[in-house]
């Protein structure tokens, strides 16, 4: 059981949750994730750790309401308990001084990007961060990103904040302007696909952090498998970060949608129970 200590909505569908997890808060590094199960009948879902405070013994997760489990999670209040939290899982991000690093975050992908931006900056890199979302309300953690980035570029699909356009527009602007040595992209699979295509065009080594369907998170089930460079890899134990230019994002997109119908039905059932 892990107690929720704090909750803050970034937008109606995106919330930051701070959980008690003393051991994980001490051992986690940038890039790590946890698996949580809300209640006895819940499913296990992976969530990347956005932040941790080893002194307070807490970890921070940022969650977007997309289905039953995420909806149940952000409906919990401080003082409530999450049934299971296990981690830190996956391999930590390999941080080195590369020179200029372009970090691109889409939607809630900005949350797991934050600790990486912080670590890259601390390793002596120049960090240029592009934050992208559909509209102004969905741009999150801008303040914190500014703390660790040399520059932050905001892109919105509808132009309600920052510049109008996709994440790739912001990225290309930077690439055309200065020499970029490395890129990190985290966000929805479709965003990472196009971000990776963009950097590939300019031969910029790029890592992507993948968030696939998982069950155990320790290599046991293979639900998270993706093709990377033509080889099947497990996101949980081989990742979650891979060479973005080698990832088969089309396959990943399909696999992410495996249970779409069941998820939609379950969510509709859930909404009925909440309303009644």
């Amino acid at each position: 059981m892990n107690k929720i200590l704090e909750k803050q909505f970034f937008s109606p569908d995106v919330a930051k949750m701070v959980l008690e997890a003393p051991e994980i808060s001490k051992s986690r590094k940038a890039g790590h994730f946890v698996i949580i199960r809300i209640g006895e009948k819940g499913e296990r879902i992976p969530l990347t750790i956005a932040d941790a405070d080893p002194d307070k013994g807490t970890i921070t997760l940022v969650v977007q309401r997309v289905g039953v489990t995420s909806a149940r999670f952000i409906a919990l209040e401080p003082g409530d308990q999450v049934r299971d939290v296990v981690g830190p899982l996956g391999n930590p991000t390999h941080i080195e001084k590369a020179g200029t690093v372009l970090c691109a975050g889409g939607g809630v992908g900005v949350a797991p990007l934050l600790p990486i931006v912080e670590a890259l900056k601390k390793a002596g890199n120049k960090v240029v961060t592009v934050l992208a979302a559909r509209n102004k309300d969905l741009i999150i953690l801008e303040e914190q990103m500014r703390t660790f980035s040399d520059e932050v570029i905001i892109m919105t699909d509808d132009g309600s904040y920052g510049e109008k356009g996709l994440v790739t527009h912001g990225m290309e602007k930077v690439i055309n302007r200065e020499k970029v040595d490395q890129a990190v992209v985290i966000g929805p699979a479709i965003m990472m696909k196009f971000a990776a295509l963009t950097t590939k065009k300019y031969h910029i080594p790029t890592i992507a952090s993948l968030n696939t369907i998982m069950v155990d998170g320790t290599g046991m089930c293979g639900a998270c498998r993706v093709s990377v460079g033509g080889r099947t890899r497990f996101v949980c134990v081989d990742g979650p970060e891979f060479d973005a230019h080698q990832v088969d994002f089309d396959e990943m997109l399909k696999r992410l949608g495996a249970y779409k119908d069941q998820e939609r039905e379950a969510y509709e059932r859930y909404l009925k129970t909440v309303r009644s």
Binding site: S27, R44, V86, C221, R225, T232
Partner: protein, 496 residues
């Protein structure tokens, strides 16, 4: 903790045993027929999750117990990986002391109700039985009797907790709560150690929970045995991955002196054929975990699963049988095994294959998948198989399957379960560069003590064997307990 011949002789010459032996002539005993295990009708059970075997009734167990001759040289005992004193527990049943029989089982076996259900007795104790070896008759039903005694005790609600030695205050850690870890924990707690079992998942039991289905091993049976270990004083930590949540060094700092690794054979193997990452293709680990651990087939639970109308399970082992029989129970119209060798080479237990056949499972032996095809959404629709024939025996001693060129054809499927084996879980070996492992990634141990190349680290079960049975894992756990006990005793001696 192996019994000496003298000990067994002494036990056998106890008055009650002698009296029982005299109460019935050997000839009368051997003329009795082996009692058949009553089973739920195949067409009923393949639609629900009810346990297939009912278990012997009291009078059936009594009759069966009379068949055991209480041999001078009980060859059945060395056939048992955990060395149960088999004649003694059977004679306790004959003496109608059923709880006493359970106590005998628990002297050497932390999980008798589990073993009575899932052990391949036909290749262990029962193959070594006097009846099989000398009389050419069906062996005494040792496994069924074990299950009877363990179930009787559990159902009576008066479970005896084995005697535990006074605590010696020495902390030992167990990594993984599957059969080897539980067996190890059971023995170490009896010896007075302070035992903590660390489990990565949210439930205790490892493969007994996520792998073996309810119809073969009900979770309640496993829980009772775990409860028993708790009563003996074993601590359990779920959601804890040693090496990740905390490292072994962290744990050593808080006083852990030694560890046993029973982390199992984690990684599922795939065939690496085209289309294998299609939606609807599961590893058996994933399929069974969703259903057994996450209860995906129960609409009250959130975890989704494809029930599947046409389900193909690839492989011929026990896990393949568990998967295909599960698919049938979830309503598959066609549930089939695709196996590249013939029935003779199947590694699955004979009983499991028989049960599967009775339940309407199709067997496509001597067939092997070569590719999968999908619809536009990426969901599997077709498996292309190739016919095989058998050639010369290979390294495993089984005849090698050889593909027949040009024999490919397609089968319509919507769900596929790949059950072709597992590789050892790399988590522990990865974080310990000094640990000696084989080319296959299994941990190298001393066969007698189960000690690894790191003196304070012992290992057993599938992480050492690569993929074996519950009972072999338990045997490893017991050996490791003995090995670690000796190691720690010497260490304590040196210190003082």
């Amino acid at each position: 903790m192996k019994f000496t011949t003298e000990y067994l002789k002494e036990e056998r010459s106890q008055e009650w045993r002698e009296a029982l032996r005299k109460s019935m002539k050997a000839k009368e005993r051997t003329s009795m027929e082996r009692i058949r295990m009553p089973e739920v009708d195949p067409n009923v059970r393949n639609k629900n999750n009810q346990e297939v075997n009912y278990g012997l009734k009291e009078e059936q167990a009594l009759l069966e117990s009379h068949r055991c001759l209480d041999c001078v040289d009980p060859t059945c005992i060395p056939g048992c990986p955990v060395n149960i004193n088999i004649p003694k527990f059977i004679k306790k049943i004959e003496a109608k002391d059923f709880p006493g029989a359970a106590t005998v089982l628990k002297e050497t076996n932390a999980l008798p109700a589990v073993c009575g259900r899932v052990c391949p007795q036909e290749v262990q104790c029962e193959v070594s039985c006097f009846y099989t070896r000398k009389l050419g008759k069906p062996a005494v039903a040792i496994g069924n009797l074990e299950r009877f005694a363990a179930d009787y005790e559990r159902d009576s609600g008066r479970i005896s907790v084995p005697v535990v030695e006074k605590s010696n205050g020495i902390k030992v850690g167990v990594i993984g709560s599957g059969p080897s870890g539980l067996a190890f924990a059971g023995d170490m707690i009896k010896l007075g150690y302070d035992v903590t079992v660390f489990e990565a998942l949210h439930e205790i039991g490892g493969v007994l929970k996520y792998g073996i289905p309810e119809f073969r091993l009900p979770n309640t049976v496993v829980d009772v045995e775990i409860e028993n270990l708790k009563k003996m004083g074993v601590n359990f930590r779920t959601n804890f991955i040693v090496g990740k949540t905390e490292t072994m060094d962290d744990l050593k700092k808080v006083g852990f002196e030694a560890f046993f690794v029973g982390s199992g054979a984690g990684l599922p193997r795939f065939m690496n054929i085209p289309g294998e990452n299609a939606i609807g293709i599961y590893s058996s680990n994933e399929y069974l975990t969703r259903i057994n651990l996450m209860h995906a087939a129960n609409p009250d639970y959130d975890t989704p699963i494809f029930s599947g109308k046409n389900v193909a399970v690839i492989g011929g082992g026990n896990t393949a049988m568990d998967s295909v029989r599960t698919a049938k129970r979830l309503g598959a119209e066609r549930a089939m095994i695709i196996y590249r060798r013939s029935r003779t080479e199947m590694p699955a237990r004979v009983e499991e294959v028989k049960h599967a056949e009775e339940e309407g499972i199709e067997f496509m032996n001597l067939h092997n998948p070569v590719a999968y095809f999908t619809d536009e959404k990426g969901r599997v629709t077709t498996v292309r198989v190739q016919k095989m024939e058998l050639g010369e025996p290979d390294a495993s001693g089984r005849r090698r399957p050889i593909p027949i060129e040009g024999s490919e054809f397609d089968i319509e499927v919507d769900t596929v379960v790949v059950a072709i084996g597992v590789s050892p879980n790399p988590l522990i070996p990865h974080m310990m560069p000094d640990l000696k492992v084989t080319d296959w990634g299994t941990i190298v141990v001393d066969k007698e003590t189960m000690q690894t190349s790191i003196p304070w680290l012992f290992a057993g079960g599938d992480i050492v064997r690569g993929g074996a049975t519950v009972i072999l894992a338990m045997g490893d756990g017991r050996k490791a307990a003995e090995g670690m006990h000796r190691y720690l005793k010497e260490k304590v001696k040196k210190k003082s």
